[in-house]
Each structure stands twice: as structure tokens, then as C-alpha cells.
Amino acid sequence: MRKPLGIPGQRTVWPMIILFTLPAFLIYFRFLLLPIFQSIGVSFFTGSGMSPGEFAGLDNYRKLLTMNPYKTRFWNAFRNNLVFFGIVMVIQNGFGFFMAVLLTRPGKGIHTVRILTFLPTTLSVIVVGFLFNMMLNPTWGIFNELLSFLGLESLIRPWLGEPRTALTMISIAVSWQFLGESILFYAAGIDSINPEILEAGRIDGVNFLQEIRHIILPSLIPIVGIVTIMIFMGDFTQFDIVYAMTTTRGNPVYGTDIFGSLFYRAAFQSPARDGWGVGMGATVSTIMSLLVFLGVSLWLFFFHRQKKRFFLE
């Protein structure tokens, strides 16, 4: 028989549970759920500036996906967001994992290095954007100076002036800032592996790579999933770094325009400055949320299956 909730010997306290959770739920509803529903609602209206106009049904969605210039901007932001996500994934997930493996090896000063890797995460994105802007500046930036010092003049280019390199640079800036977060997660995972398992492996003669492949990686699979979802959600709702480094226009010529900047411009700028009105802005944000929701759901679904397979092998 199920044990009733509450203090032993007393009646079920469901009314009390409701009473205590209701305030939190109300705050959650008023400040999170309701605005989301309101935003979705606004996407069904026309409107210039911040005022919703007439009911337009699904017209905003049709315009966004099929009509120029909306569709060009939308698909451009989608493509840029995928590239952005891809680069961040490689650096934060791949590089972060190997850094964590190295930083969990015994060694002098390793603990300090582990702390230092987390430092950039504590900075504001605006500060990070400003720092990278300064370093990449073609006139006084240290990056081109460094290339020149190393005799690599042929590699010097206007990093934030060409769409492809600019997108790569903002991806690197974000990855640099949040690499510490991935390392923290992976290192914590590695720390929690039973040392006896690692020791047994070593006695059996596994080398470094085999240890990673057969002991560390299988133990960290759930963390890989969490880090990937965090990167995915963070990157598909990212705005700050574009705002800080290449403005809300996603300079140069929309080369770094991602969903966050497209939504901001569409919703909050006047038509003269590339704004589409609050209705279209809400449409962009609704699709953005849908994509994140779908992406996370798909990832969880496949990840769950892969995890089972991995462990069964």
C-alpha cells in the first residue's frame, strides 16, 4: 500500500502541499508561462513597432518562411546558428572533455589550473565580446600583431569583417568563455568514477586512449548529454555575444546574424532600422522556441537510445 504523504500518524496533507506550492506556481505562471503564451498570441497579429495590430492568423508564419526579405533573413539566421552551434560543440564538448581528462590527472598545480579554467565563465558576455573585439581589431589588435610576430603575415585578415571568419570568431569567443563550464561538468564526472575501476584497468594494461574509450567516456555519457543540451539551448537563444561583437545587425552584412539578433531586430527596431513589427518579432521567437524544444526532444530521444546501446555493448 502506498504510504500517504505527510507527517506519520496524521491525515494526508494535500491541501497543505497545494497551499505551499501555489505561491511558487503563481509566480512561475505570472512571470514565465503567461508571457510565453502572450508572446505566442502576439505572433498571430500584425503590428508596427510594439503595438499588435489586427488578427492575422498564420500569415506571419507564412511570410517568415516563404516571403522575401523575411525568409532570406530567417534561413540565413538558421544556417548561421547551426554553424555557430557546430563550432561551439566541437570546442566546448570535444576540447572541454579532453581538457577535463588532463586536468583530473594527478600533478602539481592542477587544482589551480582547474579553478583558472572556470574564471572566464564568471565574466559578463559583453566584457568578453569587448575583449575579443579589441584583440581582433585590424588596427591595434594583438591577434594580427601576434601572427605578424610569428611570421604568419599571410594569415592576417579582417577577422570580424568577413562573414565566415566573423562567425567563427564569435563562436570561439563564446566557447572560450564557457569552456570552463564544460570542464567543470566533465571533471566532476571523472572525479566520481570509482578509482578502483581505473586502477583495475591500468593493472590490466589499458593505455591512455583505451582508458578514455572504455572507462571514462561510458561513465560520462549522461554528462555529455547534459552539456550538449545546455550548449544547444544556449546557442539557439544566444544574443549577447552578437550584440557585443557585431551589433544587432549581425555585421558584416548579416554574416553573424543568428536567431537572437534577428528576433531582437525584428521585434524592437523600427522598419527604417530593419524592424518587422512586434507580430513578426513574436513569430521569430515562437519558431526559435519551437526549434529549441524540438531539438532538445530529439536529442533526448536519440541520446536515450544511444546510451542504452553504449551500455549494452
Partner: protein, 428 residues
């Protein structure tokens, strides 16, 4: 006892519910009260003006002891959205800067601004052209306050060093550029990472002399000329002639870096707007700061001068009976306010009728250039940027692509025209 606790708990819960669900209106009401009846909030998109506006408003407050004016600007990029959201929810500033033509008209169309015709009858004395930038169907929704000009700043020290004089014609201008480049100087502190300076300052400012200024702009608005017609294509071609003189890596230089480069003496020239005088003075150029008007094609040609309508001052909705706000608004339409503003912020030129003394020599040069010129505004600002894709956005994109070598000047003109063809009635 238990029942009383339950009733009390339920009561508290209902109160909590009402508070949570009704929080926004409560906040809205509260914010209005915080300043008191005689506090007037004035907002603009120029966050750099806080100190200077404070000094201007101090004069008003000393003359009107019962009114406190708070200058609370919002950053340029967020201005339109924040003003609309705050005024619509009843917590916005009473007095606000309003952009000219369509971006400002959006405020009026959304019911954010009070009509001023009857509140400020003296507006009838303001220049008609300026009033046109802040009115709809005869209703003036903002005081036509200030305009800005565009031209070329130069470093007098660098020019002196190489024995150069400010050019008057385009050929002289190109020769000056060549000489400076040969002497190893950075000719222009110009970058193309951001599109708006290319369109608003370089094309509208320097290109106007080649596309025929205001006369051609009016024909463009009427659909009698297109951007693909010779005068406009020629303007694209001429401004493109400056590209070889841009600094290394110009594609990645943003607006602030451009200003820093010129303001710190690291470039000989900067094609810019009059609003930048203060910035360059603050960066330490001092007496070395020189300026010349956009070079004309041939000696003796009349200057086509982009004297753009920049900022109007509006009264937010619901304040037509607010005595303190009205009193301040009236003052902003006076020559006293205009003179103080121009003294504190050189490079802004008031439309307010009156006799003014411009103490800043660079600002005086800019206004003098207007005496023998045909005045115009930015090429596709009026009407042509009312819808998507906006003329402004199209010009910015096309000019960045042109300067970065992806398209030719003709293709740039075609790109903008194609975008406008999709919605502008006169082109359909």
C-alpha cells in the same frame, strides 16, 4: 482554531494571488508617483549627453523652482522599443526625442504622442521643411528641433605637415588622398563593418553632389528617377573611388574604432557627421580639428548639402494637461533652449527661429556652408524606409558589399532598387 487558520491562510492566498496577477498595473501606478507632480522626465537616444543636458536643465530649474527635470536617456539601439513599451504601459518619459519621418511617425501612429499644433501655436513659425519631418496630415507631433550635417573632418596638423589645403572639388579631394597615401599616412579612418555610416554619411553626404541633391531625391520619391538611373549610379561610382584610401583591414573596423583612430590623430581624414565634434574634441584633437564641406564636382558648382532632420521633441500621450511637462516643452521650443543646446552640443543645429551665436569654430563652418548650398536630407530616409525592406537597410547592405568588393557600384544600385520595387508604390 483550525478553521480560523484555514480561513486566514485562504485569505492570505487570495491576497497573494491578486498581488501577483495585478502586479504590472501596481508597478505602473507606482512609478508615476515616484517623481511627484512636478518631476518631468526627458529622454533621448544620446546617453553621452547626461552631463551636458544636466547643465542645460539646471537653467530651466533655476527659472522654474517648482519643476524638477530628469534627463534619462536610453541607448540608441534600444530607444525605439523601450520608449514604445514604457509610454504604452504608462511609465514612460513625459518629454522625448522623436526621430524624423517614418521612425518617428511610428510613435505617433501608435498613439504615443500628443498633437502639438494647439499646445504650441508658435510652431507655425518653424521652417516648413523641418515641420514636414515631424508631422502627419497637418498634425505636428514633435517640435522640429535639430538637424545635423555631413562632411569631412581633417587633421590640420597632418595636412600642414604635407603642405595640403582642404579641397573644394572632387579632383582636388582625390589628389589630397593620393598625396597622403604616398606620404605613408592613413588617409581615412573609415571602416565598413557597420553599414550605416556608409549610407548616412558617405553616400548621402558626399554622393549628393553627384546624384543631384534635393531635386533628384524628390524625383526619386515621385518615382520619376530610380537608383539605377545615371545620377545615382554615378554617385555610387564616385564614393567608391575613396575605397583604395581606406585603412588596412577596413572591413573589420567598426564605428567606435573609426572615431578613435581619427580622434587620436592616427588618420588624416574622417567622413563624418556634425554630431561628432564633441567626441573629437574630447579625444584631444583640439585646434587640429578641421572640417570641409563635401567636395563639389567642378569649381563653381553649387553644394548639395545633406542637412539632415535629426531630432524632434515630443510630448508623450496623456500629458496634454500636465502643467510641468507643458512648461518644460514650451521652453524646449524657445531660442534660449536652442542656444544652450547648441553651446553644449556643438554640431547640432536648431530649427527654432531666432538669432544664434555659434561659439564653436567647426560648428560655425558647418552652418556657414549651408548659406550657399541646396539643402537635402539622407537619400532614402523619407517614405522609402517606411516598409520592409527599408531603403536604409538596403543601402547599408549594398554599400558594405560594394566597398568589400563583392558587387560593383551598378550592382549596388540595382540591389537597392530591386528591394524598393517590391513595395514602394511609385516604383510598382
Amino acid at each position: 482554531m483550525k478553521k480560523r487558520i484555514r480561513v486566514g491562510g485562504a485569505g492570505l492566498l487570495v491576497l497573494f494571488l491578486l498581488t501577483i496577477l495585478g502586479l504590472s498595473p501596481l508597478f505602473a501606478g507606482g512609478a508615476k508617483d515616484t517623481g511627484g507632480e512636478n518631476t518631468v522626465t526627458f529622454t533621448s537616444w544620446r546617453t553621452e549627453d547626461i552631463q551636458r543636458m544636466g547643465q542645460i536643465n539646471a537653467r530651466f530649474m533655476s527659472e522654474n523652482p517648482g519643476i524638477k527635470v530628469v534627463f534619462s536617456p536610453i541607448s540608441d539601439q534600444e530607444y525605439d522599443a523601450q520608449v514604445q513599451a514604457s509610454v504604452m504601459s504608462g511609465v514612460g518619459a513625459e518629454i522625448l526625442f522623436v526621430r524624423s519621418y517614418d521612425p518617428g511617425k511610428v510613435f505617433y501612429d501608435n498613439g504615443l504622442l500628443e498633437p502639438l499644433n494647439t499646445l504650441l501655436p508658435d510652431l507655425k513659425n518653424f521652417p516648413e521643411a523641418a515641420k514636414g519631418a515631424w508631422s502627419a496630415d497637418g498634425t505636428i507631433y514633435a517640435i522640429p528641433f535639430v538637424g545635423v550635417t555631413h562632411g569631412v573632418y581633417y587633421n590640420k596638423g597632418i595636412f600642414r605637415k604635407h603642405g595640403l589645403n582642404p579641397p573644394e572639388t572632387w579632383d582636388q579631394f582625390i589628389n589630397v588622398c593620393r598625396t597622403l597615401k604616398e606620404k605613408g599616412e592613413t588617409v581615412f579612418a573609415q571602416g565598413t563593418q557597420e553599414g550605416w555610416p556608409l549610407y548616412e554619411v558617405i553616400f548621402s553626404g558626399l554622393g549628393a553632389n553627384f546624384y543631384g541633391g534635393e531635386a533628384s531625391r524628390q524625383k526619386l520619391l515621385a518615382g520619376d528617377l530610380r537608383l539605377t538611373d545615371t545620377p545615382f549610379v554615378r554617385a555610387f561610382e564616385k564614393v567608391m573611388e575613396l575605397q583604395p584610401f581606406f585603412p588596412a583591414g577596413y572591413q573589420a573596423i567598426d564605428y567606435v574604432s573609426m572615431q578613435q583612430m581619427f580622434g587620436t590623430g592616427n588618420a588624416a581624414m574622417f567622413i563624418g557627421g556634425s554630431w561628432e565634434i564633441g567626441i573629437f574634441e574630447d579625444l584631444g584633437l583640439g585646434d587640429d580639428l578641421g572640417w570641409f564641406a563635401p567636395p563639389v564636382e567642378k569649381a563653381g558648382d553649387r553644394l548639395q548639402y545633406c542637412f539632415h532632420v535629426d531630432a524632434g521633441i515630443g510630448l508623450s500621450k496623456g500629458n496634454s494637461g500636465n502643467e510641468a511637462a507643458l512648461s518644460y516643452l514650451e521652453w524646449t521650443a524657445s531660442p534660449e533652449f536652442a542656444q544652450l543646446f547648441m553651446d553644449q552640443l556643438p554640431g547640432f543645429f536648431a530649427y527654432t527661429p531666432g538669432d544664434y551665436n555659434l561659439s564653436n569654430p567647426v560648428a560655425a563652418k558647418m552652418i556657414n556652408a549651408a548659406q550657399n548650398a541646396d539643402l537635402t536630407v539622407r537619400t532614402v530616409w523619407q517614405d522609402l524606409s517606411a516598409q520592409v525592406p527599408s531603403g536604409n537597410g538596403l543601402m547599408e547592405e549594398a554599400l558594405v558589399l560594394m566597398y568589400n568588393g563583392s558587387i560593383t557600384p551598378r550592382q549596388a544600385a540595382e540591389k537597392v532598387q530591386k528591394g524598393l520595387d517590391s513595395w514602394y508604390p511609385a516604383f510598382k
